[in-house]
């Protein structure tokens, strides 16, 4: 039975709540896994929750004008918007979100909308490190967008649609139908782009604590920081779900979703622990090199 629009909004809230918590736990558990690599015990898995409560419970905060406040709002809107147009679990009414109302292009737009909004707000902070961080972030974003967009084009061309539900539907029926199996080059380009997108090493140029502590959010504090932390969880979850849908056959139940997204994210953290950080120019050169060529090849494979 098709739920009413009110019901769908209610479902969307439930789904958003689930992905927020999942994202926070994912960040917490990944911090613990990285700690294991480093030979430590690491923070509690629920530490991100406490951090958000703490940040929001700060008693005072400073502002630098309206745009400064709008930065995290835009970013949160970008995160929520991205998630709202992706089906988290294929075929589920609860986790379908509004995926039938939007397509892949809208999702891609939302991924970058948040970053642009953040750039505007952080620039307002007036700190030179914020400004440098913003310029680095935007420069790297344009670079990793090339392989990512090529890979998305390959997927769209392969399945002949931009509708994410249709793309997932086309991948059902076992591993051999996944994009991973049918067009591995597109997956390679996309995963490399994801390293840049998630800002782990070696592509952590945006927040680089030893260089520009800590980039765009330098001036953000208190509840604004709490908002950014919440968004980080949602946005991470949304991107992981998108990747799972596009390349790894989607998920038909929540357990499969958790396992697949966990593994995708794990690749990031794993790479992040083993590498130092590239410079901005090096990372741009990297993304415009091999990953772009792989992306072009994947498009060619998909078209012929």
């Amino acid at each position: 039975m098709e739920p009413t629009i009110i019901g769908r909004i209610g479902y969307a809230f439930v789904s958003l709540f689930v992905i927020t918590n999942y994202g926070l736990l994912l960040i917490g558990s990944m911090a613990r896994i990285s700690a294991k690599v480093q030979g430590r015990v690491g923070q509690p898995v629920w530490q991100p929750y406490i951090d958000i409560v703490k940040s929001s419970a700060k008693r005072n905060s400073i502002g630098h004008g309206a745009m400064f406040y709008l930065g995290p709002v835009f970013r949160l809107a970008g995160g929520v918007g991205t998630y709202m147009f992706i089906p988290a679990v294929f075929g589920s009414v609860l986790f379908r979100n509004f995926s039938d109302s939007g397509d892949l292009l809208l999702v891609m737009y939302f991924i970058f909308f948040g970053q642009l909004g953040m750039a505007l707000g952080a620039g307002e902070g007036g700190h030179p490190y914020s400004a440098i961080g913003v310029s680095r972030g935007l420069a790297q974003m344009t670079a990793f967008e090339v392989p990512f967009a090529l890979s998305v084009i390959a997927v769209a061309a392969q399945y002949g649609t931009l509708d994410i539900n249709a793309i997932v539907a086309a991948q059902q029926g076992g591993f051999a139908h996944w994009t991973l199996a049918t067009n591995p080059l597109a997956v390679i380009a996309a995963i490399v782009a994801f390293l840049g997108m998630s800002g782990h090493n070696p592509f952590s140029v945006v927040i680089a604590p030893q260089e520009i502590p800590i980039g765009p959010p330098t001036e953000y504090q208190s509840n604004l920081l709490g908002m950014l932390q919440t968004n980080r969880a949602i946005f991470n979850g949304a991107k992981l779900v998108l990747y799972m849908n596009l390349y790894f056959g989607g998920a038909t139940n929540i357990v499969a979703m958790v396992i697949k997204t966990f593994l995708i994210y794990f690749v990031n953290v794993f790479v992040g622990q083993a590498f130092p950080r590239l410079r901005t120019d090096q990372s741009i050169r990297f993304f415009l090199g091999a990953p772009t060529l792989v992306g072009i090849a994947s498009v060619i494979i998909a078209v012929i």
């Binding site: 480093q38 030179p128 090493n201 070696p202 604590p209 030893q210 520009i212 502590p213 901005t280």
Partner: protein
């Protein structure tokens, strides 16, 4: 010759950029900045992503040691000197003690010579372990720091057993060393060295064979060979430029003439080469510690009898004692006027030139992102600049 080698600017007068032109961005790196070693600050003038000018600002840690020492008895100064350089206090203790012994004409027992050498070499190892974490961390690789600082902690455990202190040991006192070796200590030294050596192998694999680290560090901060004398560069920074100078070999103090080692010399003189060279020195330190454990006399006195320190007057004179610490030439210049307090104590720290003159010169033309990595690769430590 590696590609992307930094352009060599001949030593010349510093040209100040026109800040009013609107072309430049002035920003401060430090003192509250994770990418700075210790507590000092750099005032960078950047054009785009490139630093065009730099001024170092020091003095955040100035405690006036040299003035305080003039107010204290010779023996009262002894707990003070080790606080000049926190990561490796033993070199302060050794240089101060050796200077006093030379002025007062005291000859220390054989066992003290070996224990001092052991203490200095362990300190070198600990300091390098701390440094390598900082170098990896400056390029964003936190894992290495987690490993190496823990290894340093194991070395500090040895110090704790030997001297009772983790950071400040106050072990090398005038006249010898403060205490004897605990039973079974040498065995634990060897065990720890095995652990550290194994971990260094891991670090070499993960850090030095890492493409990203190579991309960042190769060609960064090239020090030409003719700068070495002009700027008074010493230690690994000079050796990486191909100048085989090592005071342990040249001056031959303590037990070093009897130990088997050769100074490690590099050629490329960039950040990667310096890191590589320091890794080699860590292996060398482990090797030297093993030799010392093997050769050190197992019995005998460890301290010469001193006069009552409250009334200890040292004959008038002056001397300069230097030792090769991890960063270069560390020296104490002590002037005595025959009273029970020193007339003047001056400390020569290698960072004095590395962190100020060389840093200001090298940082020009470097990407903002590389400033932290460059600074760490010079292995500077601010307290010995300002004392």
């Amino acid at each position: 010759m590696r590609r992307e080698k930094q352009r060599v600017i001949p030593p010349a007068e510093r040209a100040t950029p026109d800040l009013d032109s609107g072309k430049y961005l002035v920003m401060w790196q430090g003192p509250q900045h994770p990418g700075i070693t210790g507590n000092m600050s750099l005032r960078l003038v950047a054009e785009g992503d490139t630093v065009v000018d730099c001024e170092t600002h020091v003095g955040y840690l100035h405690r006036g040691f040299e003035k305080l020492m003039e107010r204290r008895l010779y023996m009262q100064n002894f707990p003070l000197v080790c606080r000049i350089a926190v990561p490796e206090p033993d070199f302060n203790e050794y240089c101060y003690a050796a200077a006093l012994e030379e002025l007062a004409g005291i000859v220390i027992p054989e066992k003290a010579v070996w224990l001092r050498t052991l203490s200095l070499e362990m300190m070198r190892l600990a300091s390098f372990l701390m440094w390598i974490g900082g170098q990896a961390g400056a390029f964003g690789h936190g894992t290495i720091a987690q490993w190496s600082v823990t290894m340093r902690d194991y070395v500090l455990d040895l110090f704790e057993e030997l001297t009772g202190g983790r950071i400040y040991h106050m072990y090398i006192i005038p006249g010898g060393v403060r205490g004897d070796v605990p039973a079974g200590f040498y065995k634990r030294v060897l065990e720890t060295m095995a652990v550290v050596e194994k971990n260094l192998d891991d670090i070499e694999l993960v850090m030095f064979h890492n493409a990203v680290f190579k991309m960042r560090a190769e060609g960064l901060g090239y020090i030409p060979r003719d700068w070495v004398d002009h700027y008074g560069i010493t230690g690994p920074n000079a050796r990486a430029a191909g100048v085989a100078r090592d005071l342990r070999k040249d001056s031959g103090y303590l037990a070093y003439p009897r130990l088997d080692f050769q100074p490690i010399v590099g050629t490329e003189s960039d950040a990667y080469e310096r890191a590589r060279l320091r890794l080699g020195e860590m292996y060398q330190a482990i090797d030297l510690i093993r030799q010392i454990v093997d050769m050190a006399p197992k019995d005998g006195p460890f301290r010469e009898r001193l006069p009552n320190p409250l009334y200890w007057r040292i004959p008038a004179g002056e001397t300069y004692v230097s030792a090769e610490c991890t960063r270069g030439e560390y020296g104490f210049y002590v002037v005595s006027d025959g009273s029970d307090k020193p007339r003047r104590v001056a400390v020569r720290g290698p960072s004095y030139t590395h962190a100020v003159s060389v840093m200001e010169r090298l940082v020009r033309g470097v990407n903002i992102a590389d400033v932290a990595g460059l600074m760490v690769s010079l292995h500077t430590y601010p307290p010995e600049i300002e004392r």
